[in-house]
């Protein structure tokens, strides 16, 4: 359903090649882990898919539609089908949790009404449901920065769910959380993947999380795709290919 073809990104001042000719396909409903060292291009890859970062060349095709060739209006319609979850949660701190979650509907509602903070009743109900689903239905009217890290990430997931997404891009969703919370967040993503059939692309640092949750792994090293296969196929030799010769396995 998602096709990445020869994707290349060169950051213009400095000429850093963050992605180099990356290609792979993701079938519908897959839980795909993206691994690699910091700076290997994981975040750039995920952001090129919804064009938060404009790829230099190559194509991204979602359900037969060329994302890279879409105009501004089409791109907005594509983006609203792609939920995104961030390492630092990226909530608007001073707004209420409800407003943060409702922001997930911005691609659907009429811009004129949303500017004066008016959302349809059905959206408010949906926000309530999604917040119940991630287990913090009682926090709707708190300020976002009054929540703990794990709770903030759940709000981030609820915001992505508001988009009724076909795909969720999760950029190191648990890297800022402790291990216990990490599993609880990963379980929500797994649940969304299994129950709703949402395709998940998730960049991860810890291999045990990869083994536990992912159906398939792609690995990047210096912007190149160096591995594409099942989690259990990552043996010591592959590990050193991905993370470099000096790397030691942890966790």
């Amino acid at each position: 359903m998602l096709k990445i073809e020869n994707l290349t990104k060169v950051y213009s001042p400095g000429g850093v090649r963050a992605l180099e000719d990356v290609s792979f396909d993701v079938p519908r409903g897959q839980f795909l882990a993206v691994i690699g060292l910091s700076g290997s291009g994981k975040s750039t890859l995920l952001r090129c898919i919804n064009r938060l970062i404009e790829p230099t060349s190559g194509r991204v095709i979602l359900d037969g539609q060329d994302v890279t060739a879409a105009n501004a209006e089409e791109l907005r319609h594509i983006r609203r089908r792609i939920g995104m979850v961030f390492q630092h949660f990226n909530l608007v701190h001073r707004s209420s949790v409800l407003t943060n979650v409702l922001a997930g509907r911005l691609g659907y509602v009429n811009p004129a009404w949303s500017l004066v903070n008016r959302f349809p009743k059905s959206d408010a109900e949906k926000a309530r449901r999604e917040m119940e689903r991630v287990g913090i239905g009682d926090k709707l009217y708190h300020r976002a920065d009054a929540l703990s890290g794990g709770q903030q990430q759940r709000v981030g997931i609820a915001r992505a769910l508001m988009q009724d997404p076909d795909v969720i891009l999760a950029d190191e969703p648990v890297a800022s959380l402790d291990p216990v919370l990490a599993h609880s967040i990963m379980q929500y993503l797994e649940q969304i993947n299994k129950e709703d059939g949402v395709t998940v692309l998730c960049s991860l640092h810890f291999l045990d999380l990869v083994h536990r949750y992912a159906h398939r792994v792609v690995a990047l090293n210096a912007g190149r795709l160096v591995f594409d296969g099942l989690p259990q196929e990552i043996d010591d030799r592959r590990f050193k290919e991905i993370y470099g010769q000096e790397a030691e396995r942890v966790g």
Partner: protein, 604 residues
């Protein structure tokens, strides 16, 4: 161990010290540093007098009783000796020794039975009645005084008088007239600052988004869009202004009847609300067909016109009601005047705002049309269209500049102010359109950002003390000129401060909201505005603080407020009164400083 210095280095250091000396010496000369003046006794005496006056601000005063005793004297002594009668010793009286004397001679004056412990002047009264002060008197507990003074050079054959005056405070102290004037003016000053800050902030907030690099630089448009926007902008202004003046004229007809007027004010918003509800459905999954789009556009147009009409009616209603209320409210009549003034402001700003909105809407339409053209037409068609549009847009833009220059300098020669600029603009537009690839993204956001920044930097470099002179010519000397000058300066400096806050917001939420498929405007409302509210409040408070300080001196240049009074009193050498005003300024500025710090702490 330090590296040893070479002789050249030492010589250079010596030369630098010498150069510094010369620079400071020259500085002393140009700033006319004059130590002789500071040492001259006359200047020092003046300084002491001013300092003492400043130390006694004219705030409280007593009502005073004045008491006079006259003693006749002959200057010089007549040939037959003094013939003045003995004083009446039953009441207060004065004894002169000697009873007559030559001009400039010293005499001793003794007073008896005066009010005890009072002070006053001892005056010489020639026949003309002008009093010349000879000395000051101070009575003791028995009402007695003795003072030796020199007679003035006023020889006269008639009898002249020496007058002892004592003054006594009666009753309780009360505020002096000067204190009342100071109070009135300091209130005026604080409100001057408040109004200037409010007006300035209202304009600076939207302007600050245009001056924020992170919001503006990503905005790019193809040449087709830019050219169409430039061509459409004046048309939109014209349409907007035209619609507003038509609606204004229409409202004039309705204002004859109060019922019609009030009904319009109530019905207008209802029509706007209904039309907006119908034309802007809350959620739309599929794009509507052309017929529905046109119908919606018409509905919005009707809503806009109805809104304009209702606003004109509201303006008229406020004007009429305010004027009717003002005389009936007594002490609160300023409320009625205020309502009327608000109506007036609304009325005359509507045409301008409507013109700007019209221009903005058509710029938007032009931009979208350009985008569609550059996406859907073949490259060659687009390229030739660009050549045409680029030429037309360049010519229009330069012709507008030409008209502005003509308005300023009154050249009144169409060849130089219309045809040549239009020709140059057309050529420039043609060259740009020919050289650029047909769909190259032009950094239009960056251009707008640079223009906004440049204008604000220019405005900011002119102090409001200078601006007020221009405004005083326009609206007359007084606090209103001060409000306008301070407001203009507030716009320029706060737009810059605000925009820097926009530039320093966290990028994460911006990214997250963009990723949901939000438009640029939605992103600003949901990701930018919540982040900038606390710094905006803080800067606004700080600006009010600055404006209070500025408004205390803006009166020096004709801007009203307490500065006006202060300057008058200084010019009249009325230092005790001036001291009161300085004290008032100090109190107000210090308490504003305290208050704004407290309020800023709250906001964050």
């Amino acid at each position: 161990m330090e590296k040893p210095k070479s002789p050249l280095q030492s010589i250079l250091l010596g030369a630098a010290v010498l150069a510094a000396l010369v620079i400071y010496a020259y500085g002393f000369q140009v700033t006319k540093v004059n130590l002789e003046e500071t040492r001259s006794p006359r200047r020092q005496e003046q300084l002491v007098r001013i300092l003492r006056a400043l130390a006694q601000p004219d705030i409280l005063e007593y009502d005073r009783d004045e008491f006079q005793v006259n003693a006749p004297i002959q200057v010089p002594c007549p040939a037959g000796g003094s013939s003045v009668p003995e004083p009446d010793k039953s009441g207060p009286y004065m004894v002169l020794t000697p009873p007559c004397a030559d001009p400039s001679a010293e005499i001793t004056v003794e007073g008896f039975n005066f009010e005890p412990n009072t002070t006053g002047p001892l005056n010489f009264i020639p026949p003309s009645g002008v009093s010349l002060q000879m000395a000051s008197i101070q009575t003791d507990a028995n009402g007695h005084f003795s003072v030796t003074a020199k007679l003035p050079k006023r020889p006269n054959e008639q009898i002249q008088y020496i007058r002892g005056v004592t003054r006594r405070n009666v009753g309780r102290p009360h505020f002096s007239r000067n204190a009342g004037d100071t109070w009135d003016k300091i209130v005026e000053t604080v409100f001057l600052a408040l109004l200037a800050t409010t007006i300035g902030t209202l304009i600076a907030i939207p302007a600050s988004f245009l001056a924020a690099r992170n919001l503006m630089t990503p905005i790019t448009s193809p040449l087709t869009s830019v050219a169409l926007s430039i061509l459409f902008f004046p048309v939109g202004m014209w349409v907007g202004a035209g619609a507003a003046s038509r609606m204004g004229a229409a409202s004039q007809m309705m204002t004859a009847s109060v019922a019609l007027n009030v009904g319009g004010v109530i019905a207008g918003p209802l029509i706007v609300w209904g039309a907006a509800r119908w034309a802007l459905p809350p959620v739309e999954e599929t794009s509507p067909g052309p017929a529905l789009r046109i119908a919606r556009l018409l509905a919005l147009l009707v809503a806009a016109l109805a809104g304009l009409l209702a606003l004109f009616l509201l303006s008229n209603l406020a004007l009429v009601a305010g004027h009717a209320l003002a005389p009936r409210l007594g002490a609160l009549s300023f409320l009625g005047t205020f309502v009327a003034a608000l109506g007036d402001i609304l009325g005359f700003s509507l045409v301008l705002v409507s013109a700007l909105v019209g221009g903005g809407v058509l710029v938007n339409v032009g931009g979208r049309l350009g985008q569609i053209i550059s996406e859907r037409t073949p490259a060659t068609v687009n390229k030739s269209l660009n050549l045409l549009l680029g030429t037309a847009a360049g010519a229009t833009l330069f012709a507008i500049f030409g008209a502005a220059i003509n308005w300023l300098y009154q050249i009144n020669n169409p060849l130089w102010t219309l045809w040549i600029p239009a020709g140059v603009g057309a050529a420039a537009g043609l060259i740009v359109a020919a050289l650029l690839p047909y769909n190259a993204p032009l950094p239009i956001g960056y251009v707008l950002y640079t223009i906004t920044r440049t204008v604000f930097n220019g405005l900011r470099s002119i102090e409001s003390l200078v601006m007020v002179i221009v405004f005083a010519v326009w609206v007359g000397i007084g606090p209103f000129a001060g409000v306008l000058a301070l407001a203009l300066h507030t716009i320029a400096s706060n737009a810059k401060l605000y925009s820097e806050q926009v530039e320093s917001i966290m990028a994460g939420p911006l990214e997250a909201i963009t990723a949901t498929g939000a438009t640029r405007l939605q992103t600003i409302v949901y990701a930018v505005i919540p982040q900038i509210v606390p710094p905006y409040i803080s800067y606004t408070m700080y600006r009010w603080d600055i404006n209070v300080r500025m408004s205390t001196i803006i009166g020096f240049a004709g801007g009203g407020g307490i500065g006006f009074l202060l300057q008058q009193n200084i010019n009249l050498l009325n230092y005790r009164a001036a001291s009161t005003q300085m004290l008032a300024i100090a109190i107000v500025v210090a308490s504003m400083d305290y208050l704004s710090t407290k309020m800023r702490e709250r906001a964050i």
